[in-house]
């Protein structure tokens, strides 16, 4: 019997379909035309043609964040590949599983500064979990299998595969041998927590008088939200989420004390500062959380659970480190608590909660509702009502992002999708498109600003092509609001290049792309029009809301202070 032989390009597509990849986000060019040809001749993998490769990476990223599956990108060599860099870095910072297939010039030309040659593996080295220079046709399927395995296990992250054109062309062929069950001698991420560490952790937790659970993106990634809720309820502990961890417990749960950090709630930051034990779950003590590390929670015993040992004791020393997948470790903690027949010490617990209620009563996440300008916070509340709190909210970066995080309590994990680590303006729209592809029946919002939306606005065209009716809500403050806020607070109100002069007419712009455009500039119409926007089912709606341009995001940590040193509103310290 003759063996069936395939070109490298065909092997790429066969491997992707074996891995059940539904969507491939990409843009064609010389070195990957063979892959495009192979895609044309099959129906398993659907290619989504973006308008800019950066958007392909964010779309794949949004798809990955909302589903937990690997997002896959295809780009041509040179400019196509370098356009992916920002999206790769975005995924890397937030530990998102992604595989980027990049073309490369033919093997014989590598190193010659050939047309559209860029060392993409070199360029992306500091911002990938791993990368591969694939050099042989026979290696293609298993390199792809390895890339998926690495991207999606342990602490997830982006993986780049460079594919030179010659090994994709029909001139070379190989059999299709594919092994999805990857084993690597150099890569075996730890999954269960060490039992001695679990015991120590439970000892600390049970002795605590003022316990806080601080959970991050790791809980979302590990699908550990239900377990987290169970743990928090068992301990009756206050729980705070990082920007990446929102939805880890429901935003309306009684034990939830809000987001912590730079724009977190006073009660969350106060509880951290006054805690005697901090249980950190899948969070990494980012500088946007800790504020001045030298003043960080000096009296607390820190139990730090994370899949990545490098995250432990990197910025803040952990007294009880536990390396493991956060879902598994929470289960281990629950079992150990059960074994120890743990019950909440009512008196101590009540005292702690009384203290927290006092901080809560300050109502730090609130805004001035007087006047007839539309406050940006009010828009978020309106869209919360209109979507019953059930929408996927994909954010860009700026004040609008913080307002969304503060005023839209997320009931479930993966509902809140934002670039937390890198803070990438331009992320929101393509990410929302990736989510909409995955969940066509759900409301998917892109919450954005007049600055951010223009960083990937060309994707409105992709939305039309693939019928992706996301709802774009732009909090238009005619400025780079977050920059302006810092200039107001730190730079004597000198608004250097933070104005957006010559903004387009966003309504007409949306219409010219074939979508519905709406503008809201009257507070009285706000709720009604937002409702209308969500009632339009099969068309993309771009809602341009003219909001109060002078609004600042509060509360806000005071720079170089402790975690709980905060401005509550303009000129008022906690």
């Amino acid at each position: 019997m003759t063996k069936e032989l395939f070109s490298g390009a065909e092997l790429v597509v066969k491997a992707l379909s074996a891995l059940k990849v539904k969507y491939l986000f990409g843009y064609p060019g010389g070195t990957v035309l063979d892959i495009y040809d192979a895609l044309f001749r099959q129906n398993d993998v659907e290619h989504i043609l973006v308008r800019h490769e950066q958007a392909a990476t964010h779309m794949a990223d949004g798809f990955a964040r909302s589903t937990g599956e690997v997002g896959v990108v295809l780009a041509t060599s040179g400019p196509g590949a370098t356009n992916c860099i920002t999206g790769i870095a975005t995924a890397y910072m937030d530990s998102i599983p992604m595989v980027v297939l990049s073309g490369q010039v033919p093997t014989g030309l590598i190193g010659d500064d050939a047309f559209q040659e860029t060392d993409i593996v070199g360029c992306s080295r500091p911002i990938v979990k791993h990368s591969f220079n694939c050099r042989n046709v026979v290696d293609i399927p298993n390199t792809i299998a390895k890339a998926f395995y690495i991207a999606s296990t342990g602490r997830p992250g982006p993986v780049v595969i460079e594919l030179p054109k010659d090994i994709l062309m029909p001139q070379y062929t190989a059999e299709y041998v594919f092994n999805a069950d990857v084993k690597m001698r150099s890569y075996n991420p730890t999954v269960t927590g060490h039992h001695r560490q679990i015991k120590k952790a439970v000892q600390a937790i049970t002795k605590a008088k003022k316990l806080v659970v601080y959970s991050g993106g790791g809980v979302i990634i590990a699908n550990a939200a239900e377990l987290l809720t169970e743990l928090v309820e068992k301990l009756n502990a206050p729980v705070t989420n990082t920007l990446m961890g929102l939805g880890g417990v429901s935003g309306t749960h009684d034990n939830f004390i809000g987001m912590l950090g730079m724009h977190g709630s006073l009660e969350a930051n106060k509880a951290m500062a006054n805690a005697d034990v901090i249980l950190a779950l899948g969070a990494r003590f980012d500088d946007r959380v800790t504020n001045n590390v030298k003043k960080f929670c000096p009296d607390a015993t820190i139990v730090h659970v994370d899949i990545d040992p490098t995250s432990i004791s990197k910025t803040i020393n952990a007294h009880i480190p536990v390396v493991g997948l956060v879902d598994i470790v929470i289960k281990q903690l629950l079992v150990e608590l059960e074994d120890k027949q743990f019950t909440v010490n009512k008196a101590e617990n009540q005292l702690w909660w009384q203290q927290i209620e006092q901080w809560r009563a300050v109502n730090s996440v609130s805004y001035d509702q007087t006047g007839d300008k539309i406050k940006p916070q009010r828009v978020i509340e309106s869209m919360y009502k209109a979507t019953n709190g059930e929408a996927y909210v994909c954010s860009d970066v700026g004040q609008h992002q913080m307002f969304a995080a503060q005023y839209y309590p997320f009931a479930k994990p993966r509902q809140w999708i934002n670039s937390g680590g890198l803070g990438t303006m331009g992320f929101g729209l393509p990410a929302a498109m990736g989510v909409k592809l995955a969940f066509p029946g759900s409301h998917v919002i892109c919450i954005t600003g007049d600055g951010s939306i223009q960083m990937n606005i060309q994707e409105l065209s992709t939305c039309l092509q693939y019928n992706l009716p996301v709802v774009i809500i732009s909090l238009n403050n005619r400025s780079l609001g977050m920059v302006r806020q810092w200039q107001d607070m730190v730079y004597g109100g000198r608004h250097s290049s933070s104005y957006m002069e010559s903004l387009p007419d966003f309504v007409k712009l949306a219409e010219s792309y074939g979508h519905v455009g709406m503008q809201i500039n009257n507070l009285e119409e706000l709720d009604e029009k937002i409702k209308q926007a969500f009632a339009i089912k099969n068309r993309l709606v771009f809602v341009d809301v003219l909001v109060d341009e002078s609004e600042h995001v509060y509360p806000m940590q005071i720079r170089t202070g402790a975690i709980d040193e905060m401005w509550i509103k303009k000129g008022v310290k906690a």
Binding site: V121, R125, K129, H130, S186, Y187, P309, T310, S313, K314
Partner: protein, 167 residues
């Protein structure tokens, strides 16, 4: 504190650049670095001499371990170990007096002259960094150093302890 790290990793394209990239990206110090395949040519072994306090060293070890193609890393300086470096050095040996002086110093340090030119001696010496530094200083007092090259440190644990893949 000076530390000697021994790393066992997959002998693949790009694995060395990942290590080097990691050190520069995270501002870790590299005093010396040597690399070569092991007796099993699918594996490379790297020895890095670095400096840093305990906190930095902990991060270095964890970050290196996190690289996908690294199999093991160990801090040789934690335990009793042997370290060696190779020096090749070319010095001026113009006349009888300077030649015999160079020879005498070389003998004392248990080095050997491995090449002779009209006016130069090339000497080979192995030892730990201290010995090599002392040798270079002594030679420099006696004659002119034309050129020198050091291999960088390699090291191995004493006794049964070994850095290898579990069989």
């Amino acid at each position: 504190m000076r530390r000697i790290l021994a790393i066992l990793l997959e002998n693949e394209a790009g694995s060395l650049s990942r290590i080097v990239g990691l050190f520069s990206q995270r501002a870790f110090n590299i005093e010396s670095l040597t690399v070569a395949p092991t007796e099993d040519d699918t594996l490379s072994r790297i020895t890095i001499v670095t400096k840093g306090n305990d906190k930095i060293l902990e991060q270095i070890v964890k970050q290196v371990n996190k690289l996908i193609d690294v199999i093991k890393i160990t801090d040789l300086t934690e335990r009793s170990h042997v370290e060696r470096e190779l020096l090749l050095i070319k010095v001026l040996a113009m006349n009888e007096k300077s030649r015999s002086e160079v020879m005498r110093i070389t003998d004392i340090f248990r080095g050997s002259v491995i090449d002779i030119g009209k006016q130069v001696y090339t000497i080979q010496l192995t030892g730990n960094a201290d010995k090599i530094n002392a040798f270079i200083t002594t030679l420099a007092n006696e004659t002119e150093i034309i050129e020198s090259v050091r291999s960088g440190c390699v090291g191995i644990a004493r006794g049964e302890k070994a850095l290898r893949i579990k069989q």
